[in-house]
Amino acid sequence: MIEVQDLTKAYGPVTAVDHVSFSVNEGEILGFLGPNGAGKTTTMRVLTGYLPATSGTAKVAGFDVTTDSLSVRRHIGYLPEAPPLYPDMSVSGYLDFVLRIKNVPAANRRARVDDALTKTNLGDKRNELIKRLSRGYKQRVGLAQALVHDPLVIILDEPTVGLDPKQIIEVRHLIKGLAGTHTIILSTHILPEVSMTCDRVVIINKGKIVAVDTPQNLTTQLRGAQKIHVETQAPEKAFAELLAQIAGANAVKVEPARASGHVTATVEAGAGKEIRNLIAAKIVEKGWPLYELRGVSLSLEDIFLQLTTDDAAHAQASNN
């Protein structure tokens, strides 16, 4: 449904998006993950025909965004970072206007407005002026605007910004419900959002794609090195020696804990090896009290940081 090949967008000397390639299948939800200024918004703006690409091609629903922009725009719904609202309009009047500029015939407009209002839970605000709505409602009107004409592709730039936790869950449900019949790209810097809603994730940093995979794969792939956290009360040196004896414990880092007089250690174990039971047995054998023993699983957060900081370190190394 969406094909992006070597897409580059430069603003003068600054390259915001640098040779990015990815594709999105029909009915899929693709998450765009990256820190602020990574090039998420720019990529989306190119896909929606708002900005021209400097080089490379992008196709949406089979149409090229540069040469056939109007056809692309006919098939997309787009929610920019700030919802594009007219404060003087009523919610339903605004959606009707959006349908008009999306070339939806008059006969379908009423039903489409009703449908979008139901989907976004705005039924009771239909005649309210947009300027009187709270931030969360405005965001929902923006979302309604992106899906009101039932487009093939929906592009959402940080759709859950400004919503309260309950609304965030509602919006995520809504987005998940749209998948299948719609192809969706959403950008975010909130990681749980990606693991909860997206089929695939593109991690982007400084205009370059760092990783493309399913959220599950990304988590397991980087869980290769398992970390274990141990807390006990023992002489530091003896504790370190004891841990070093255990087969499979690779890197051991022992630190004196806070005021309690405890000692904590972080142990890295090889992938798939269970050594927590061995550690427990050894400590008990010594007669030390065992206060804590837990595996630290890498969250998407860690992966994200790892990927984006690695990249930065690489860039620095190549500069020197």
């Binding site: 997309i76 787009y78 920019p80 700030a82 594009p84 007219y86 008009r100 500029i101 999306k102 070339n103």
Partner: protein
């Protein structure tokens, strides 16, 4: 065409839902009404002095049409300043530019909406003129009246086209309004002092000036040169506006 109408409809809604239209139309009505009564009194007094050779109604009509042009210089910048500047500031330009409407549709829809507002502003003033026309003997020819209003409408159209172009250049409505006023005033006064020159430069400046062409319309003459001037002025600035909107895509957002 449907897109032009969609934009037009939205703009009209914006004018008449918000206080913009009511403030502009009623202020314009008030000022023109006051000035018209002053002009009428002056003309009546003058005609007592000058005797039967004095063509009072025509004098009054010409003075009043000139006033309409002058007032529109003050009022039009208020109408056009928000056309694009506000959309850009609000971020709604992004909605319009990612919808299947061409840039020219957006510009035309907005231009015709502002022109409609100008017609709504002019309509009440026609009642005074018709009143004079009905009560003067001999009545000035109807075509003077009609061509005069056509001239004012074209003149206002030029202001609107220039105003919408300047509004597309900036996110600040104040800057758009001030520039519209200043540039149009410059195009107005540029011909002062060249009125009787025979030199080519003088004649060129005379032609470029926006106000010179209005004289003919006020006399009941629809001169092709004036018509061509006004229509190409409007067309040129609408074209520039379309290009300016397109260039938004290329500038750093």
């Amino acid at each position: 065409m449907r897109s032009v109408y969609a934009i037009y409809r939205k703009e009209m809604g914006h004018y008449f839902v918000s206080p913009v239209a009511y403030v502009v139309v009623s202020l314009f009505f008030l000022v023109t009404a006051f000035m018209f009564s002053q002009y009428l009194r002056a003309v009546v007094e003058q005609s007592f002095e000058m005797g039967p050779d004095f063509d009072g109604p025509s004098q009054l009509l010409r003075a009043f049409l000139g006033l309409l042009a002058l007032l529109s210089l003050f009022f039009m910048p208020m109408v056009t300043m928000g056309l694009f500047a506000e959309e850009r500031k609000r971020g709604t330009m992004e909605l319009l530019m990612t919808s299947p409407v061409r840039d020219v549709d957006i510009v035309l829809g907005k231009f015709f909406a502002s022109l409609t507002l100008f017609v709504v502003m002019l309509l009440p003033t026609a009642s005074y003129v018709v009143y004079v026309w009905l009560h003067s003997d001999p009545a000035p020819p109807l075509r003077v009246l009609l061509s005069g209003y056509l001239g004012v409408l074209l003149f206002g159209g030029c202001l609107l086209a220039l105003g919408s172009f300047l509004s597309s250049l900036t996110e600040s409505q104040i800057i758009a309004a001030v520039l519209t006023f200043a540039i149009f005033l410059f195009l107005w006064v540029i011909s002062f002092g060249t009125r009787d020159t025979e030199s080519v430069l003088g004649q060129v400046i005379q032609y470029i000036s926006v106000i010179g062409h209005l004289d003919d319309f006020e006399r009941g003459i629809i001169d092709t040169s004036g018509l061509v001037y006004y229509l190409s002025f409007i067309g040129f600035f609408i074209f520039l506006t379309v290009r300016s909107i397109d260039s938004l895509r290329w500038r750093r957002a």
